[in-house]
Amino acid sequence: MSTATRAGVCAVAVAEAFRGDGERLANPIGTIPMIGGRLARASFEPDLVMTDGEACLVADHAAFEWPSGKVSEAWNPYRRMFDVVWGGRRHVMMGATQVDRYGNQNIAALGPDPQRPKVQLLGFRGAPGNTINNTTSYWVPNHSPKVFVERVDVVCGIGYDRAAELGPVAARFHEIRRVVSNLGVFDFETPDHRMRLRSVHPGVSVDDVVEATGFELVVPDDVGESRPPTEDELRLLRDVIDPSGLREAEVPDG
């Protein structure tokens, strides 16, 4: 019996993706990723370095609002960010309009012909450079067969099959750590790096996840539940990191 909401569980799952990263730039993009990253730093990964979403690295635990002023610890304009990406001291969590079983990600366009897309999305953004240079994870707030697809229409962020084709030298800095969705947590810790169901969020069954996934997941015999926030983590989320409750708007309960 937990008072944790689904959004709270997602924030913890995001935080767990950064466990062990130490003094690295944790760069979660999006509402719950930003909250989850802050949660990791405020609890078990105190050395993580985080941005304000603009051009500063900030020491504060608040994710979005700094009513009494924010504490900047370094200047990090876009130019510097590329230095960090290419230097590798970074773990980014991006969104994914499509993701496949090897962790290939698409945020550019939908349809068979990328030169004449049915639906134009953002563009490649920094996904190619991110995935070949530093650790990458993905956040999907709307798990469905349209997102978890057999084959992505455009490979922006490269997955393990593409990395394997490049060979061990070119791909030596490639790591897709986790995919966190509103239904569960996924990793690639399988012999051929196919996506594996790591845990289901409380209230979600393995069948729910399989149903909502457009490819065959690796499903271990004993899939556990994603852990709810601790009392301490709940307090941090509520009082410090996200007092306005933006997380609940991104992943509503029930």
Binding site: A55, K118, G123, P128, G129, T131, I158, V169, A170, R172
Partner: protein, 283 residues
């Protein structure tokens, strides 16, 4: 000079770099002058925002070189999407960092710069001309003779950037949190034009910021336009933030009955930038 003086120096078919990032510190007053002009078939290089959307909607763009186009607070740019989905513009898609390297290569007058960014991705599928290069040196962490992406230089015929302050000779200052890649845009270009919120005497340039904010010197600038509120509706911190209401109206116009023509008639079909600014002030 004025915005229209800048446009008079541009020609159809030119490759034009536009500074700023997304919906931040864009040289919109000069973009508006291009929208009013007869220029066409431009190749535009931009970390894209409403500059790209408006130029596409007005049919000014033949080719777009980009890594993203976004209005920031509205993630997808509606007029850019429409132009792309209808096949109205040709596109060269790159990774964000590759745009930086292409501009840097042009600025340094080398044909390419190497990077790992792009390896294994569909950038090679959408850019059949993109090449790799084999390193003649051993790389870090056991990368002997590795294959890297050779990002081609992105030389520009002209660059347009908006800064906070400058003197009349083009010594310019940014006062916001990020220069973005404005210096590279200017260095990569044959003709370099900046618009600024305010022109000040050279000896007043340090009144509002330290010497570190003087990142654009006159070596990089051929002409200055004084354009207060010239980045509108994009942000120009700390002078002003983004006009979110106006941007919402712009984005909504793409779905509305009036469409681009309605938006254009209401806001852009005016004599000059001063008339635009009066209309915005009376909003």
């Amino acid at each position: 000079m004025t915005e229209d003086d800048v446009v008079a120096r541009l020609e159809p078919g030119m490759t034009i770099g536009i500074g700023g990032w997304g919906s931040r510190r864009k040289p919109m007053s000069v973009v508006r002058a291009i929208l009013r002009s007869a220029l066409h078939d431009l190749t535009v290089v931009s970390y894209g925002g409403p500059d790209v959307g408006m130029l596409c909607a007005a049919g000014k763009v033949r080719r777009l070189v980009f890594a993203f186009v976004s209005l920031d607070s509205i993630p997808l740019e509606p007029y850019f999407r429409r132009a792309r989905e209808s096949g109205a513009v040709e596109c060269t898609e790159l990774d964000e960092g590759m745009v930086l390297l292409g501009l840097q290569a042009a600025a340094w007058r080398v044909p390419f710069l190497p990077t790992r960014a792009g390896l294994g991705s569909d950038l090679f599928r959408v850019n059949p001309d993109l090449r790799t290069v084999r390193s003649p040196y051993p790389g870090p962490g056991g990368g002997d003779g590795e294959e890297l992406v050779a990002v081609p230089a992105l030389p520009l015929d002209a660059a347009l950037c908006h800064l906070n302050r400058s003197d009349e000779r083009g010594n310019a200052q940014y006062l916001g949190p990020d220069l973005y890649f404005d210096d590279l845009m200017l260095e990569a270009a044959e003709q370099r034009f900046i618009s600024v919120e305010r022109v000040v005497p050279t000896e007043r340039l340090l009144d509002e910021g330290s010497v570190h904010t003087l990142r654009i010197g006159r070596l990089l600038v051929d002409g200055v336009v004084e354009a207060p509120n010239g980045a509108h509706p994009t942000s120009c911190d700390p002078d002003y933030g983004r006009d979110e209401g106006f941007q919402r109206e712009y984005a909504a116009s793409a779905r509305g009955a009036g469409g681009w023509d309605g938006f254009r008639r209401r806001w852009l079909d005016v004599a000059d930038e001063a008339a635009y600014q009066r209309a915005v002030a009376g909003r």
